[in-house]
Amino acid sequence: MNVPDDLLYTESHEWIRRESENVRVGITDHAQSELTDVVYVELPKVDRQANAKEAIAVVESVKAASDIYAPVKGTVVEVNKALEADPGLLNREPYGQGWIFVLKLDNAEDLKQLKDAEGYRKQIG
């Protein structure tokens, strides 16, 4: 399973890429392979404020709906509209074109709470 070294991770299988004051968020390769066949993504609204671990998006596969959580406290500044037309991007490019939203960080210190690649690899075994 692909777990890139340069990303941070949550226990709930989101990946986080630091982009100066913002973070870009998606779901991991492991998560997409467990879900398979993503058929719908409900994106958060831009400007929405979210607390860490608050459910702000929904990824639906053929089988089930799964909540996607804000990894840290922040404000949604960008969402991936391409997923509305092509939710399969989440399966094909989970770390690339399949990103879900960008959060403006409330406090960059919060990122210390997240797992590194090594920690996430351990979690998924």
Binding site: T36, D37, V39, V62, K63, A65
Partner: protein
């Protein structure tokens, strides 16, 4: 905390070896998918797929009184069955509610095979034992048998390759014994996908051998091992009900739109009185298929159904149909609203999405 049974079919190790994602279903550890639900679904629609159905229960009713007795237990008419044929039928409680939907085969003059849902096997067996009468013996043979469903337009080619090109396959709803290696397997022309197909039952000890032979021979025909996920999307496109979702002890076959499998001309079977009354007065609610009007989130069980602003029912099955790439489902709605073409709304996470009540099936081969 109560201990949850986690039974394994004789094919469990094969599923693990093939990398299946395993879930607990009706007390059984079963593959939900091997690669992807959509891929497995398309394999069945376009080529051929094989499913482990060893979790399903097999009961044998035998004896000079078996035929008459089964006719008092089941809704369809067993008298119509010649040896080697089967029918879809219901086992009802006294309130007419559905304990299980099943297929009953007459395998000899006075011998019947009942293939029942995995999660209901023990309950059905106990129910039948409790209502048993003289001249009939009932046995639960579920642990002795394994089974697979082989489904898809290339199934006949595959069966000819597997059993020999001169083999005589059973016609629809019939069951025959065929030689396979040094053993006998029972092949029934039935299924749960809307495609041509068979369900094959064999001794549990022959399961791995048969499964691997079918997969190996099936390579020529594009076979894929398929999990419960594809089984569910395939059956839902055809509007075949799933017990526990679309059927329950609180619902009767008339409400479920399956009166075709109920013979009210029979003088007596458990639940008959209620069905006669339901038929006379009309059911309060009906199970109807629907299709979303727009691309959007998939409908799911328990979502509320509205017409204008009135709540008229609840979704029991829903998904994105892989064949149509569109949201579809089934719902119980109150009878005055249960008409083909009625515009409804499905409430998904607090937001209403338009849909329309459709005819069965939701998917038809072009």
């Amino acid at each position: 905390m109560s201990e949850v049974a986690q039974k394994r079919t004789p094919l469990y190790d094969e599923h693990v070896r093939l990398g299946a994602k395993i879930i607990l279903f009706g007390g059984w550890l079963m593959p939900v998918h091997y690669t992807s639900i959509v891929e497995e679904h398309q394999a069945v629609r376009n080529n051929v797929g094989i499913f482990d159905i060893s979790h399903m229960g097999q009961l044998i009713a035998e004896g000079s009184g078996a035929q008459a007795w089964l006719n008092t237990m089941l809704t369809n008419n067993v008298d119509k069955l010649d040896v080697g044929t089967g029918q879809y039928t219901f086992l009802l409680n006294e309130r007419g509610g559905i304990i299980d939907d099943l297929i009953v085969y007459r395998i000899d003059d006075d011998k019947f095979l009942l293939v029942v849902n995995a999660s209901r096997t023990d309950e059905v067996f106990e129910w039948l034992k409790r209502h048993l009468r003289g001249g009939v013996k009932i046995e639960n043979r579920s642990a002795d048998f394994g089974g697979v469903a082989i489904q898809g337009p290339r199934v006949v080619e595959l069966l000819h390759a597997l059993f020999g090109k001169d083999v005589e396959l059973p016609p629809r709803n019939a069951i025959v014994d065929l030689k396979f290696g040094g053993t006998n397997v029972s092949v029934a022309r039935t299924g749960y996908t809307g495609e041509d197909g068979v369900e094959v039952f064999f001794r549990a000890s022959d399961a791995t051998k048969f499964w691997n032979a079918a997969l190996e021979t099936g390579k020529l025909f594009g076979i894929k091992p398929c999990g419960l996920g594809a089984r569910d999307t395939l059956r839902l496109e055809m509007c075949y009900p799933l017990n526990g979702s679309d059927l329950s002890p609180e619902r009767n076959p008339i409400e479920a739109g399956l009166g075709f499998f109920v013979d009210l001309t029979k003088p007596n079977f458990i639940g008959r009185d209620v069905l006669v009354r339901t038929k006379e007065s009309g059911p309060r609610e009906k199970l109807v298929p629907f299709r979303m009007k727009e691309k959007g989130p998939p409908p799911r069980p328990h979502y509320a159904v509205f017409e204008n602003s009135e709540r008229i029912g609840e979704v029991t099955s829903g998904t994105i149909s892989p064949s149509l790439n569109w949201g579809v489902g089934m719902a119980y709605v109150s009878t005055p609203h249960a008409n083909i073409g009625t515009k409804i709304d499905i409430e998904i996470r607090g937001q209403k999405f338009p849909a329309m009540i459709e005819k069965k099936p939701l998917y038809k081969k072009s």
